[in-house]
């Protein structure tokens, strides 16, 4: 097995069809987080990207609006096959998950008046809220000992969850403040 830093050879460049199939499989497998699987597929199995290229692209995708892996699929498709590659990649990524959520939604709709089904989905919703709670704590943890960062995060929670202010207003106010604070610290 070659190391993941081995540069992908010219003939290893995926076709539009291979991009679609690759991301289709990724979309079907990624339960509760596609990121680790995306790295395994792109870097280790198909070797479309080196480890460094993957990290660089991920940085870009986190920096842009939209889902990280959705943006990553667009970036990878674009890199190899231009616009048609980008469209094939994102379509592949979201095709199966969309079909599956609609199937689940249909089941929920049909049986939501059945108390057992309602109870089951209420329990599922509670667990899903709990998972998001743990994600939030994991993301907040590196901010400990950074009073400015914690204050900004606290204001965001207050503005969105308590005062129910529109997201656009909150982002346009907090993002420049936070970036300014980062600039003063990094200067």
């Amino acid at each position: 097995m070659m190391t993941s830093d081995h540069p992908p050879s010219e003939e290893a460049e995926p076709t539009v069809r291979q991009l679609f199939v690759g991301f289709l499989l990724l979309g079907m497998m990624g339960f509760g987080g596609v990121l680790p699987l995306a790295r395994a597929m792109l870097v280790e199995q198909r070797r479309w990207l080196t480890a460094a290229e993957f990290t660089d692209l991920l940085g870009l995708c986190q920096f842009l609006p939209g889902g990280n892996i959705v943006n990553m699929s667009v970036a990878v498709g674009m890199k190899f096959r231009g616009i048609s590659g980008a469209v094939a990649s994102i379509a592949g990524l979201i095709a199966m998950p969309t079909a599956i959520v609609i199937a689940l939604g249909t089941i929920y709709d049909r049986y939501q008046n059945d108390p057992h089904v309602r109870h089951l989905f209420t329990g599922l919703a509670a667990a899903a809220a709990g998972l998001l709670l743990s994600t939030a704590l994991k993301i907040l943890w590196p901010l400990r000992g950074k009073p400015a960062g914690l204050a900004i995060a606290a204001v965001a929670v207050l503005a969105i969850a308590v005062l129910k202010l529109p997201l656009l207003l909150v982002l346009l106010t907090l993002a420049p403040m936070s970036i300014l604070a980062a600039w003063r610290l990094l200067r």
Partner: protein, 176 residues
Amino acid sequence: MIPVLISLIAIFLELSLLAFGGGNTILPEMRRQVVDVHHWMTNQQFAALFALAQAAPGPNLMIVPLVGWRVAGLPGLLVSSLAMFGPSSVITCVVLHLWERFKAHRLRSIVQVGLVPVTAGLIAASAVVLTETLAHSWPLLTIAVASAALSLATRLHPIVLLAAGALVGLLGLGQS
């Protein structure tokens, strides 16, 4: 039908451009729009759709096609997905070209570091908003806290925790 589709497009176009830090940061705004502003569904129904989206594989934005489909069927699904995934994809393509130039630029790392607290706060707000929908029931709050604690303390797969929550819910504890 057409006004509903236009509303869906407007909502998800805006969310597409505001979704810094991934899909979970825009949940409260999505909930505010579909529940408070447009009254398309109740808080509990929105929480159920979020749970369905979490139970499905794939990226965590799958609540978007689900909301579109729930509100306006197949046309709703198509316009919501296009409005959500289109603009951010176009931005990704454009920025990809400029990325190399900014690679070593200090501004890039400053913006990246600066956005972390905002993203963290928005995801925490999403968690609070979703947990609020459970506030009427102690057993449901217990499920949420237990799944959060297990997710933090163990390496259990999220799908295991979701299944456990669904099973406990099936017992109907503390539910009407």
